[in-house]
Symmetry: C2
Subunit: 327 residues, 2 copies
């Protein structure tokens, strides 16, 4: 089958990747044929060496279950699904303590120890699946994973007294976070570098500013770093008031912090930094089903698996928000 | 007068530093003759270029008020005092919001915009002073500032369900934090690099381990980074369980993070990082008065102002805990 594969030599299109065999599905797992896939900043960072991952790339998808291992409910076959990306053991202290996303023995779809979804077929445990309602089409459903990640920010924050919130970054995740946070009792603005992307905030009625026009005045109560770049942390620290909260969504490959990088504002201003990763899929499906968020406007470009590494190149271009892939 | 002064050329002993003049005391301020002074890691970092500070060094002291500005209560004259190091405006949003340590227009004794206490005389606002009870001698009282910083950690944490707490670093601040935290309903250990320093924990009945003997197993609920070194953050992240809390006391001069420095564990493990700086002086005085903490054992060496830059050299040596200065 066709697949986008990352190995020592970089990202390449493998036209003859070994296809998962129905008879050999691991216990509890299912075979999925993806119909839409999304490219994420994490994919770009993996290509730069983040996590030292090798294998099929990709973790955002909507698809159809084609087959299931014999221990899995056959009702899944033929259903349209999205899937959580952390594949967990169910036995460790994290799993038993309700933090299965942090399972100590996990594999992660297209990120750690498990082939991803940028392929004609891939496998995932049935417990990871969420059925997609009929009123959420593929173009929307493929946003469940990043929307869940945006919703996670809300779960980790306490919003009281109408705080000033800056979403830093006008990319894929930033524009989702801005939409989600703007439903709260907070004064939310999105700050980015791209007038065209910020134009979407205008359409949604969300405050927005170009980074170059914003003073770094230590006056924000909360800053969510969705920049996906090493400099985002320094900017966020400069925007936060003392005792403010920095939600960090950005992961970058090691060694990008630069020479004069300075973390002392965290101590001097007694900042609270909260790392934030994967979020609640069921909630994200619900938001899409209620049309509580606009994801279709985020689609910049549609490409095909066969376009190979060019897909990642496109997703990395300044003007581009979301690149969707079809098989 | 004699003073230890940091300028472009480094730290030096100035034998003829201009002495503060009683008649010229700024409104609200008092003249203090320090009787004991303590050397802190921040002093060492300032000498490396942290904060770009120039002036008399030093912010830990106990001393006697020699004179007061005419608008200050004369009852202070002759009293033995310690003093908070942040000199604040009282007018800005931080001061009015109860966060005066974060005053936007502050100066900080021996750290930012105000000559410090490593001198024969120095000045400080009267509102910063705390009288020292007779049962707390000078050797103990000089520890009020660092003890308050240790107590601040407790203020910023929620301790529930007997968490596993590691105090990382067996230096001045680490040994104070270990003592303070061990009074809580938590399993506390101090992890450091120096057998002799950790021996104090043995004496106090506090668990302790050499760093080289400790597995970095992501199993601690809380880690307090008191290492004062750039590598402390990386070690702390490797010790914390997912969703654990890292209290950061360490400030280092910019650019020491090293090439492969990687902050991604904060996001991947959804860590909570809390910056922690100055703490409650009144509480620290009370702890010393109740003899709830052993500070005298921390004194490694007594030196004099006249020993000049050698004082900082001594304080920076591996085996040394606290260096006290006398005029």
């Amino acid at each position: 089958m066709r697949a986008l594969v990352l190995d020592e030599s970089g990202l390449g299109l493998d036209e003859r990747r070994h296809e998962p065999v129905v008879g050999d599905l691991p216990p509890g797992e299912v075979l999925i044929r993806p119909t839409r896939m999304g490219v994420c900043s994490t994919d770009l960072e993996l290509c730069k060496g983040y996590m030292a991952y090798e294998g099929v790339l990709g973790h955002e998808f909507v698809g159809v279950v084609e087959a299931v291992c014999k221990d899995v409910d056959k009702a899944w076959v033929g259903r349209r699904v999205v899937g959580e990306i952390n594949c967990v053991c169910g036995q460790c202290d994290m799993c038993k303590g309700g933090l299965k996303e942090h399972c100590r023995d996990r594999t992660v779809l297209g990120i750690m120890g498990r082939d991803g979804c940028f392929a004609e077929r891939f496998v995932l445990p049935a417990v990871n699946l969420h059925a997609v309602p009929d009123n959420v089409d593929d173009d929307r459903a493929v946003f469940v994973e990043p929307l869940a990640a945006a919703l996670q920010v809300v779960r980790q924050l306490t919003i009281e007294g109408r705080p000033y919130v800056t979403v830093l970054g006008d990319g894929r995740l930033g524009l989702l976070c801005a939409q989600v946070l703007s439903t709260l009792n907070a004064t939310v603005r999105c700050v980015g570098k791209h007038e065209a992307k910020l134009g979407l905030c205008e359409k949604w009625g969300i405050k927005h500013r170009l980074l170059e026009d914003v003073g770094l005045r230590q006056d924000q109560d909360i800053v969510v770093d969705c920049t996906g770049s090493a400099s985002g942390l320094t900017t966020a620290m400069a925007m936060l008031r003392p005792r403010g909260t920095l939600v960090r969504k950005t992961t970058v490959a090691p060694g990008q912090m630069g020479e004069g990088f300075d973390l002392s504002p965290i101590v001097i201003n007694e900042l609270n930094v909260i790392g934030s990763r994967c979020g609640p899929f069921a909630e994200a499906v619900d938001w899409l089903s209620r049309e509580a968020v606009d994801v279709v406007s985020l689609i910049s470009k549609r490409m095909k698996l066969g376009d190979g590494p060019g897909v990642l190149e496109q997703a990395g271009k300044p003007g581009v928000i979301k690149v969707l892939l079809q098989p």
